[in-house]
Every structure is written in structure tokens, then in C-alpha cells.
Symmetry: C2
Subunit: 155 residues, 2 copies
């Protein structure tokens, strides 16, 4: 009996551990879409941040492509991606705080700050690694300003 | 004993069923990025397709926003998103067939056909629902041409 329950308990623990992954299947399409936008920021920022930290060798063309992609992604219209009822109180698959829906104007301003920072990075990324590093501050600042105000901490 | 094994079997079946979801945690960032692009196509095509089928009421502005988004997403440079070793033989979290890496020129041509179809939809979506419907064929054709040639069937 002890063995039986320990096996079952281990099974339940595994299921609990992958709870987040399960929640993302069947996720609200709007949440999935805006999460995809964040993933695309993360991917391209990973390239630029890696070069800034010296973890990836600086490559002007690759840096420019990543910066161009950031600019393009900021041009996606997200107005259909934040329907009511998709905050983290209503929907456990998102970290979007309810405050977003009470401060759309500020969220929009923070989004514009990100778009501006991406354009600044686009101008800098292909110059040299020092210019890229200098542009990272504005970009990182724009990301974290919005995350601090409107994203719940990771569980 | 029978009950014990049936419970365990049920547990294993559940774990198998959510195998795909598990695989997506810790997914290769390049795979995650290109999957995000596909999600953004799907979200905006969902709006346009819903209107074409009469499941969503036609709205010229919403249709135009969705079509604009498709055009924007086709402008993302995917050259860093298809590294060697991220086909479905090497990586179970993707349905990308190895044939992609043997036919980059054709994949690029099919991508261009999608970009052209998105531009045609951008011109049509805001006119009326009949124009939108007419443009869906080229768009759906571009999606399925690439999926038929280069994507493994869903498990």
C-alpha cells in the first residue's frame, strides 16, 4: 500500500509541476496571441542582449535584423488581444494584472515608449557593439516599466 | 491489484495526452519564436475566417486591423528561427519536417506567396464581406501549400 501511494503521489506531483503547461493548451486565443508577441520580443532581445553582454559575438547584420524585428512587432495592433476577462484574476494562464484594464491610456503610453526604444535600437544596432549597448538601457527600461506596473510576478 | 494498475494506467494516459504541452516548456527559443509567428497568423486569420463564414459579424475596421497584422507579421525576418537541428526528427516539440532544410528556396517562395496574399487581403478586407471572402482563397491556399509540403500531421 505504501508503495502504491508513493507512486501515485509522485504521479500527482508531476502533474502539478506541469500544471502551467497544461493551462496553456486551450488558452484563450487573445492571451495566446499577446503571449506570442512577448515571445517575439524575447527572442530578438535575446540576440541583442547576448551581444551587449558579450555572450554572443557582435554581428552588425544579425543585430540589425533583431532590431528590425522588434520594430515590426511593435507595429502589430493589439486592440483585439486584451478582451475583458483575460486578467490574471479571471484567467490563471496569464500574468496580466487587472490594473491594465483600468489604465489603458498609460498602457498605450508605455507601449509607445517601447516602440520608440525599438526605433532607437534599430538606428544603433548596426553601428557597433557600444552603440548597441547604449541603446539597451532605453529598451530594457521600456520593458520593465510595463512589467513592473502591469505584470504579476512569476509563480 | 487490478484497480491499482488501472489507476496508474489512467495516470500514464493523462501524462501521454499532455505530452505535447510538457514538451513546449523549455522549448528551443527559435522554435518558440516561429511558433509565435504561426500563432499570430492564426489569431488574425481567425477573425477574418470567422467573418468569411458569418460566425463573426463583418466589421470593416476589425477586418482591416486583422489584415494589417498579417502583413506586419510577414515582415518579421525569420532567418534566425530555423537553425539546424530543429526539425521534427531532432526535436519532438515541432512539426517542421526536415525537408524544409533541403528546400530553403522553395520555403522562401512559399513565404513570399503568403506575404503577397496578406497584401491582397489588406486591400480587400475593409471593402465588404464579399471582397474579404474572395481574398480568403489565396490566403488559405498559401498557408496550406506550405503546411502540406513542410509540416508533419498533428499527432
Amino acid at each position: 500500500m505504501i508503495k502504491k501511494f508513493s507512486i501515485l503521489a509522485a504521479g500527482l506531483l508531476s502533474v502539478a509541476a506541469i500544471g502551467t503547461a497544461i493551462a496553456h493548451e486551450g488558452q484563450n486565443p487573445a492571451v495566446k496571441a499577446r503571449t506570442s508577441i512577448m515571445q517575439l520580443y524575447a527572442f530578438n532581445l535575446g540576440t541583442l542582449g547576448g551581444m551587449a553582454k558579450g555572450e554572443i559575438e557582435y554581428d552588425a547584420e544579425a543585430a540589425t535584423r533583431a532590431a528590425n524585428n522588434l520594430v515590426v512587432v511593435t507595429q502589430i495592433d493589439q486592440s483585439a488581444m486584451w478582451p475583458a476577462g483575460t486578467d490574471n484574476v479571471s484567467d490563471s494562464s496569464t500574468r496580466a494584472l487587472p490594473a491594465i484594464w483600468e489604465n489603458f491610456a498609460d498602457v498605450g503610453a508605455k507601449g509607445q515608449a517601447l516602440a520608440d526604444a525599438a526605433v532607437a535600437m534599430q538606428a544603433a544596432a548596426g553601428q557597433d557593439v557600444e552603440a548597441l549597448k547604449a541603446a539597451m538601457g532605453q529598451l530594457g527600461g521600456a520593458c520593465s516599466a510595463c512589467h513592473k506596473a502591469y505584470r504579476a510576478p512569476q509563480n
